[in-house]
């Protein structure tokens, strides 16, 4: 299953709730202000690195670039994808839960 998060983890609990309620092995795509969760050396980066539920993390490139970020800012192993990759994830996963 695919989960998308579009909120900064410092603004709203969408990221936290997704971490609690997404099933193990889920794909998690960070978009819009959600991309701020992908940055390394933050309050939450350890949680993503420990990754006890074995999630696969993705981040939308266009939103990353727009916010002055690139792969050097990110936690290792987060995959950067295009809108085409976003579409592909929604095809590969039978459903998408949008954590607004």
């Amino acid at each position: 299953m695919l989960h998308t998060i579009n909120k900064s983890p410092y603004e709203k609990n969408s990221f936290e709730t997704c971490m609690r309620l997404a099933a193990a092995e889920s794909s998690i795509l960070l978009i819009e202000d959600g991309v701020y969760a992908a940055i390394d050396n933050t309050k939450i980066s350890e949680l993503i690195k420990e990754n006890p539920s074995n999630f696969k993390f993705y981040v939308l490139e266009a939103d990353l670039k727009a916010r002055g970020l690139d792969k050097n800012s990110l936690i290792p192993n987060i995959e950067i994808i295009s809108y085409k990759g976003f579409v592909k994830l929604t095809v590969e996963n039978e459903k998408t839960q949008t954590w607004l």
């Binding site: 266009a62 809108y83 095809v91």
Partner: protein, 130 residues
């Protein structure tokens, strides 16, 4: 694959409508079908034909209209949400005795049943909101 798209926010204030547009465009480029784009809550404001954004900015309502024309997309504004927010097509203008309508080309106003139908008929329902 058939996609249903739900857009819950209006243009400009939130990124949701932009993200939805880029997603829909990418899906069409990949050869997928968009069963319907349903606009709910403030999302109905995407259907105005009276917006005049600065020339160096994107024109969100026109962009949807043009994409709909090119790909024969079904862009639906929820009637209940539209009535609350003053989005009016010629039929609604007559029905509610208004002196104008403001809906952009290739949008239509219809009931919430159209969203449920999109959920039933599409292979995927993807939500864009805030």
């Amino acid at each position: 694959m058939k996609f249903g798209i739900l857009v819950n926010e209006g243009p400009y204030t939130h990124q949701a409508s932009d993200t939805a547009y880029h997603f829909v465009k990418a899906a069409l480029d990949e050869g997928h079908q968009i069963y319907r784009v349903f606009f709910y809550h403030d999302g109905v404001n995407n259907g105005t034909r009276l917006a005049t954004p600065p020339q160096d900015d994107r024109h969100i309502p026109n962009r949807w209209s043009e994409l709909a024309k090119e790909y024969k997309l079904d862009l639906v504004l929820c009637v209940a949400a539209a009535q609350r927010r003053g989005m009016v097509d010629p039929d609604e203008m007559k029905r509610n005795q208004k002196d104008a309508h403001n809906i952009a080309d290739n949008f239509r106003i219809s009931g919430l049943g159209q969203l449920i139908e999109a959920g039933i008929q599409s292979d995927r329902l993807i939500t864009f909101g805030d």
